[in-house]
Symmetry: D2
Subunit: 138 residues, 4 copies
Amino acid sequence: MDECTFEVGLRWRDLDHQGHVYHATVLTLLDEARTEWFRASIGIASPDEYVVARVTIDYRGEITRADDRIIVTFGMDRVGTTSLTTREVARAPDGRLLAEAAITAVLWDRTSHRPRSLLPQERGDASRFVRSDEDDLG
Amino acid sequence: MDECTFEVGLRWRDLDHQGHVYHATVLTLLDEARTEWFRASIGIASPDEYVVARVTIDYRGEITRADDRIIVTFGMDRVGTTSLTTREVARAPDGRLLAEAAITAVLWDRTSHRPRSLLPQERGDASRFVRSDEDDLG
Amino acid sequence: MDECTFEVGLRWRDLDHQGHVYHATVLTLLDEARTEWFRASIGIASPDEYVVARVTIDYRGEITRADDRIIVTFGMDRVGTTSLTTREVARAPDGRLLAEAAITAVLWDRTSHRPRSLLPQERGDASRFVRSDEDDLG
Amino acid sequence: MDECTFEVGLRWRDLDHQGHVYHATVLTLLDEARTEWFRASIGIASPDEYVVARVTIDYRGEITRADDRIIVTFGMDRVGTTSLTTREVARAPDGRLLAEAAITAVLWDRTSHRPRSLLPQERGDASRFVRSDEDDLG
């Protein structure tokens, strides 16, 4: 199984009134890192090519201004016919666990506004990140 | 079991490049509606009083500019010692299902930066929204 | 001269770490109110129809969570060939002055990615909001 | 006169429905770069230490996803008793002019919620960025 790690720099405006990164903004940060991963590893060049269908996220630690960036490690839980389900772990530069998430992304045909099937090349590239024998159930 | 329904108006900037409300922004909208619910029904006056520990959300339909607002119906899945787990269903004004979410909010002591126990009044108010006999497991 | 007034509800996430609405977010709020004004009064139905070319804004007072909404009064400084320059005054529900801004919006042809001329109907509708004899200089 | 240049990476969510960075978001990007400048050069460590009192910005070119970051060059227009007025020029990596802005930041005492005077060290550091003899008028 391959894994990939990407960093995202924080902005001051990511903080909310409580002084930590707002919970919804964490999804924006993961999205940004995932975009880099999809582009570099699976040939999906832009978030325009998919829609997010499902998110599960556990917030494990506060992300504060002292963390200038987060580091996200990606694996794949499942490669479906039209969807990818990722496994995403965000850590602070000091290694502190910040969040664990699973995202289901559905490949999207922007002209028909409907899901599209993964291309063979995309399937192959995505499957390299699947753990053990969990591939190809859908 | 009680339920509560609150509306949140959309903004043009909630749309992303794909023309629907960005997936992370949907959490901001739910947060806004939940804040009204918590204030009106449970006596938790501000998002400053809790942190979001866990989110599960299924996106069921695109929220577009044609939807000037969303309507969120809230129930409670579980009332814990220091946490509330909600059940949140967002619909368009025309009744179209948009998203279903569960949020675990941990009550937060802002001076000690630690979880705090629900007050008896808060427990009582929150329990009115729990379905059947699922209350008070934690 | 006509004037128009529109309200925009605040969200908790509009606050920044300092506890007041973030200065860039104030522009988002004005944009939202202006969209209503343009749609209701000038027949410009969506922010997709123009780009913002210039902003001047003076922040006159803190917008806090105690202000559940802002109230924006709009007038027109200038109606150009391809642009509108507005005059925007934001107040709190208690009448407190919050911000004064002038925005130059350039009408935009989305297919050619170039400015377009105001339609005669748009010019006429926009000119009703111009003070005295400042109209039609461009 | 000194100048300083800082970069800010773009995020996909900075784009609006029109496909370029939303006009209000450009202020967030400038704010992020300015924070780095203030910290590195003037000893103002955080945006919590000042409030933005006035913004003038001219948008000179579209910022699109093809621009992975913007590059902001900072100078100082004026060093006042309690305020700094900056001169900010944003360019794309290919040198294309994107925006020109002037921001008035008022140093802010967070405990009293009132402006505070610049410290002598801050005045000295800030004055190095002032053009010619425009310093110290306020």
